[in-house]
């Protein structure tokens, strides 16, 4: 194999900001940092006890974007989300959300600032009904009057949940549980949603639907940080992507370029 097409930027070697190749659709009011950057993660190191899980991760999410984080099992994708959401605060580095340093904030106050998520494995409250789970999503909100409106929005995205609202979450099918997890994240009226493998374990028809919904949520104005095993689909809906390898970012580029990148194709898209 000889020379390749233009090599993707290597994140570690070029800390300079990305050229705006493909601007996301709604590049509106700069709600915080420069260039509409809403979340800025800079060189974070996160540990599980003595296990050094993240060895200097940097990434950004801008207003209106879908950013995807792909990589093999154990690369540290979920750990990156847990560092941002406050469940595993990093020991080194900085996380800035809407201009505020949230590096060491506890999880419950980060939700209040506007980051919500659908975690890996869904993590519903199994003994509560679908409706109660959705209510828990709005737990930290004080504006109760908008609650009904948001519930209608979630039911519009997932009509199945309206039918099942009194059923206990633990007895739902995997796909239905995934819908509850995403709906619950939206009930927080987030300014950024993080989705950890929303398509995991779902039938192909559900997978397509989930990605359509990811796009729909984004088009309604919410930026999304999407962790996925299904790199093909993820790169298809995302504006930009980061490829993780054992605790660091190996590659970053806009999603179209990553999908064409040979290394990515070999490693994550199952092509030769």
């Amino acid at each position: 194999m000889s020379e390749q097409t233009p090599p993707p930027e290597r994140a570690a070697e070029s800390p300079a900001p990305q050229p705006e190749t493909q601007a996301p659709p709604q590049q509106q009011r700069a709600n915080g940092g420069r260039d509409g950057v809403i979340l800025e993660v800079t060189d974070i190191h996160t540990y599980y006890g003595s296990i050094h899980a993240l060895k200097g991760i940097s990434l950004q999410v801008r207003e209106g974007e879908i950013v995807t984080l792909i990589g093999a099992n154990g690369a540290g994708k979920s750990t990156t989300l847990r560092s941002i959401n406050g469940l595993n605060n990093p020991r080194k580095g900085r996380i800035v959300f809407q201009g505020k340093d949230i590096t060491n904030d506890p999880a419950h106050s980060i939700v209040k600032m506007g980051i919500s998520q659908s975690p890996e494995g869904r993590r519903l409250f199994p003994h509560m009904s679908v409706l109660e789970n959705l209510e828990m999503g709005a737990f930290q909100r004080t504006d109760r009057q908008n609650f009904k409106e948001d519930l209608d929005r979630v039911y519009a995205l997932f009509p199945r949940l309206a039918e099942r609202k009194t059923q206990r979450a633990g007895t739902l099918s995997g796909g239905e549980q995934q819908m509850v997890a995403m709906g619950r994240a939206l009930m927080a009226r987030p300014k950024l949603v993080m989705l950890d493998e929303p398509s995991m374990g779902l039938a192909p028809i559900f997978v397509e639907r989930i990605f359509e919904i990811v796009k729909e949520i984004n088009q309604q104005g919410t930026p999304i940080l999407l962790v996925e095993q299904n790199a093909m689909m993820a790169l298809d809906v995302a504006h930009r992507g980061y490829v993780m390898e054992t605790g660091h970012i190996a590659l970053t580029d806009d999603a179209k370029a990553l999908a064409k990148n040979e290394q990515v194709q070999k490693a994550y898209l199952g092509m030769d």
Binding site: V111, K112, S116, P119, M136
Partner: protein, 317 residues
């Protein structure tokens, strides 16, 4: 019939303590061995409040004064032990939250000894009781059915407490946070619930209920620094019987244990072995209460570990 009501009354006291075990277990999967001792210490403190220099209540005072004093005592001891129990969690258990389960369990045994020793240091080995404070005259009397004042007060205090606890857990924001935290701590934190504060509130509730139980016990029986050991085990058995982690289960289990104890001791039936030639003297039935109750504990653990009202779930869920 009277035996039945004695059982119900004792069961109500066990129930308050059992709720403390079950609340804490539900949220931390920790058997808080110190809980029985917190109960005993609260009873002794209640004695100090009621007697001597402080309130100086005697059975000669009028019913209104006595009941007022009892309520005042609860207003003092319940918040005191709520805070105390929350502090125990903060100091002894919080840092071990992610440690293997054995570590907090051993710590709980340690805390149990510490609390007991505080009781011993302050109150020595003597027994204290306020059993004469409330008249044993009948408060309600219909035919052969009689209910005495000193038993009635127990239900008068326990029933409102259970109603408010149920309301709190079912309907308040903090109660919802408790139920969510019991099901999944990480997910709860992701919903914006302050998990640490929720656990503190749970311990505080358990402590307050134990303080109420301490006073009620003091009105029925004599107690001292180590009374909490056996009563704690009875209450724990009740919690397991009903399904540990399940609030109604704890009350149901405690009622059953109270009734078993009362019938075992009250009916003076002969034990099957009593007087048999090979084992002529097995003693009074009350000597057997503990054996019966712990026999039940073992039987549940073997045959139905999830308890009467508990659900069969995988470990740790």
């Amino acid at each position: 019939m009277n035996v039945f009501f004695i059982g119900l009354t004792n069961g109500a006291v066990y129930g308050l303590v059992a709720l403390g075990y079950t609340l804490v277990y539900g949220i931390l999967q920790l058997i808080n061995f110190a809980h029985g001792d917190v109960f005993a210490l609260s009873g002794l403190v209640a004695f100090s409040v009621l007697s001597g220099k402080f309130l100086g209540i005697t059975s000669d005072d009028s019913m209104v004064i006595i009941i007022g004093a009892l309520l005042l005592c609860l207003i003092l001891t319940m918040p005191l032990f709520a805070v105390g129990n929350a502090l125990i969690e903060l100091v002894a258990y919080r840092r071990l939250r992610t440690a293997p389960r054995l570590a907090p369990l051993i710590t709980a045994v340690g805390v149990s000894f510490i609390v007991q020793n505080v009781g011993l240091a302050v109150y020595d080995v003597e027994f204290y009781g306020a059993t004469e404070l409330l008249p044993r005259s009948n408060a309600i009397e219909i035919g052969s059915f009689a209910y005495q004042w000193n038993k009635l007060i127990v239900l008068l205090i326990v029933v409102p407490l259970l109603v408010s606890l149920t309301w709190f857990v079912r309907s308040t924001r903090q109660g919802k946070a408790m139920r969510a935290t019991a099901q999944d701590k990480d997910a709860s934190a992701m919903m914006g619930i302050n998990v640490n504060r929720t656990i503190s509130v749970t311990f505080a509730l358990a402590g307050a209920l134990a303080a109420a139980a301490g006073l009620l016990f003091l009105l029925q029986f004599n107690m001292r620094y180590d009374t909490g050991f056996q009563l704690g085990l009875f209450a724990f058995t009740a919690a397991v019987l009903g399904g540990i982690g399940n609030l109604s289960g704890a009350v149901l289990g405690a009622t059953i244990i109270g009734l078993i104890e009362a019938f075992n001791e009250g009916l003076r039936w002969g034990h099957p072995l009593d007087g048999a030639w090979f084992f002529p003297d097995v003693g009074a039935p009350s000597d057997w209460t503990r054996a019966v109750i712990f026999g039940i504990l073992i039987a549940i653990l073997v045959f139905r570990p999830e308890g009467l009202l508990g659900e069969r779930t995988a470990e740790g869920t």
